[in-house]
Symmetry: C2
Subunit: 142 residues, 2 copies
């Protein structure tokens, strides 16, 4: 098959053919099914993808720990998948989830609790929607 | 600074300190400011980040072409940034955008025009919100 025909099959076909990167991962974006807010960006390997599809709970692969994990297995803050979508070139997945509690390990609902603003002295961050829903020290054994 | 103190500064600080990967990139998720739908997942290098912040238009770095590009520079389908956020560990950016036309090079509004469903024979895709807003052959010189 030519490159062009291959790309056409990936983009216009209905076969599930995730394109894993050199580390065997695809990017996954989880959004809040109720509000549309982006909760987190993480990665899935083949097994995390399969477990997520089969169970309806979000599973990820941690690059830092090099381990498969079910979201919420330590914290109880699980993600129930409402809908799962694949992007055009099949290297990114979007899941709309019902989030229990907070998605972020810092205790916030979303990992995106800081806004980026420009300015004369360069870009700066400012907190927005940054209230903590839990105390990470009490939830994780750190 | 200890690793723990360093992580605390990255997660709880207000200094803009993007954590680029080995290729010099952060992941960027663009959502539709009007609907909350995820439009695309792409990458930004340092220059793309700076140009996006300074101009208010989305700039990305193409891994396949190894080139900086302003979204819509070929197609006219630009993205005006309404809000830009950084995630906890500063390796992913979320932009809420006003999308002109279609975000996807296939002609769809979003790159995520296929749903993933499980089943006995394995996962399958099905089209959803997959109407083409333009004919790629007419917009791009392919």
């Amino acid at each position: 098959m030519s490159t062009s025909a291959h790309n056409h099959a990936i983009e216009e076909g209905l076969a599930f053919q995730p394109k894993f990167d050199a580390s065997g991962l695809v990017t996954c974006v989880a959004t809040d099914a109720a509000t549309g807010d982006v909760l987190m960006v993480a990665h899935m390997n083949d097994e995390a993808l399969r477990k997520t599809i089969a169970s309806g709970d979000a599973w990820y692969f941690s690059r830092s720990r090099q381990a498969l994990w079910r979201k919420g297995e330590s914290s109880g803050h699980t993600q129930r998948v409402v809908e799962m979508r694949m992007d055009c070139d099949q290297d990114a997945v979007w899941i709309r989830v019902e989030q229990t509690g907070a998605a972020c390990h810092t205790g916030r609902r979303s990992c995106f609790y800081r806004k980026i603003d420009g300015g004369e002295g360069g870009a700066k961050l400012s907190f927005v929607d940054a209230d903590k829903m839990f105390d990470p020290k009490k939830v994780y054994r750190t």
